[in-house]
């Protein structure tokens, strides 16, 4: 994986040299970049090989491999996001970045499973965010390097084509599992709720969490026919519980089992030898915070720290990665 933390000048030189780049960083730095074959999202937290890193003075780049045969950029809004799978090359992969809290974030999270060709072609990416200490006066953004456009309500995508002897795979590492807790459902789909239905009885969710001493570090977990998906807590405000991904009214959730050692649990799940095949990876801001990753090694994975991960659908509190392998 060709990933690095670089200065604006160094990144500009790579862009001018024609490299295809995925960029993460502070918006004031991204705005200084020349036009080219890149997309970007705002975030000042990264997984670097040396460890978790916070920087508002440098950019984090992922350079896509030279063997990619073609790329095309696409900006998606609420009207055309349903085409994201169909627009991808027949043999390749797509990288998407969307701003946290935007309409496109919500639309994709709630509806992507219904999109034409859902999961038929590799789609991976992340939800851009902000410095958590500046939440009141900054907004997550994405950028399309082809045009230089700065976007707050659209998603940017690089669709990439692969030669026939290569294939891309999307995988995740999710260290959570359902705890032995109440069964929780929600009256409506969405990123926030006041109410929860606990074992069939409607209650105020904020009060339920408080009275049961449930840590917001433990996400809601659903076992969707054998596949575990998390929905992370963002905050509780004015008796409303906010999430980093929507809850769905037709889904049964439980609170995750507490994690004793985040780093060890991640390490246990990393497939042997996988890191050398990784082309792109990203990890959730909550893993960064709760695992106290700043300055700690991230096991050969590098990439942006995110406000949500995308591995075909919106995911939370996972590490998502894209590998490219040779085929006969």
């Amino acid at each position: 994986m060709k990933t690095q933390i670089r200065s604006v000048g160094q990144v500009s030189a790579l862009i001018k040299a024609g490299k295809t780049l995925l960029i993460a960083g502070d918006e004031k730095l991204i705005k200084l970049l020349p036009k080219g074959d890149w997309i970007a999202g705002t975030i000042p937290y990264f997984m670097d090989y040396k460890g978790g890193t916070f920087s508002e003075s440098e950019l984090f780049i992922t350079e896509l491999p030279r063997f990619i045969t073609a790329t095309k950029h696409q900006v998606y809004n609420n009207e055309n996001i349903h085409r994201v799978y169909g627009d991808a090359f027949n043999h390749g992969f797509s990288i998407i970045i969307m701003p946290s809290g935007s309409d496109i974030h919500s639309a994709f999270a709630l509806n992507c499973g219904k999109y034409h060709g859902f999961a038929n072609k590799p789609l991976v990416g992340w939800v851009s965010g902000i410095n958590l200490d500046k939440a009141e006066y900054t907004t997550p953004k994405v950028f399309d390097g082809k045009t230089g456009d700065e976007l707050t309500d659209e998603a940017v995508v690089i669709h990439a084509s692969l030669p026939t002897n290569k294939i891309a795979y999307v995988d995740i590492i999710n260290i959570f599992e359902q705890g032995d807790t109440d069964e929780l459902t929600f009256p409506v789909d969405g990123f926030l709720t006041k109410d929860v239905i606990v074992n069939g009885k409607r209650k105020k969710f904020a009060k339920y969490l408080e009275s049961n001493k449930i840590s917001l570090k433990q996400p809601l977990v659903t076992d969707s026919f054998g596949t575990i998906f998390n929905t992370s807590f963002q905050k509780i405000e004015n008796n409303k519980v906010y999430f980093y991904a929507p809850v769905f009214s037709n889904t049964v959730y439980k609170i995750a089992k507490p994690i004793k050692d985040y780093v060890f649990e991640f390490f246990k799940q990393i497939p042997i030898g996988v890191s050398r095949k990784v082309v792109f990876s990203c990890n959730c801001i909550l893993n960064y915070l709760y695992a106290e990753l700043e300055g700690r090694p991230t096991f050969g994975f590098a990439g942006p720290v995110t406000f949500g991960e995308i591995g075909y659908r919106l995911l939370n509190q996972t590490m998502v990665y894209l590998t490219i392998e040779d085929i006969d």
Binding site: H91, G113, G117, F118, A119, N120, K121, P122, T164, I167, Y169, V170, D171, I172, S224, F225, G226, T227, F229, N250, T251, G311, Y312, R313, I327
Partner: protein
């Protein structure tokens, strides 16, 4: 292996959950999760046909994908 056509009952058995397989490919896990949830929410013959067709189309579109082929063999072998 040859891809069984979209009317093969094995697709529907996966969608309804009458059979399940331990798939390797994350894409197929995500897709089957979505299709099962769709059928559970609206359990009609029409939904089952649509979901079965989507599952078949996934394997058709991924006929050169080694991990998809391995998962296909788990369904039909």
């Amino acid at each position: 292996m040859t891809l069984p056509d979209e009317n093969n009952p094995a697709w529907a058995r996966l969608v309804t959950g009458k059979v399940s397989r331990d798939f390797e490919l994350f894409a197929i896990k995500v897709l089957i999760s979505e299709l099962k949830q769709t059928f559970l929410t609206q359990p009609t013959e029409a939904t089952l046909r649509t979901c079965s067709r989507k599952l078949y189309s996934f394997f058709k579109n991924n006929k050169n994908n080694p991990r998809a082929i391995a998962d296909l063999m788990k369904i039909f072998n």
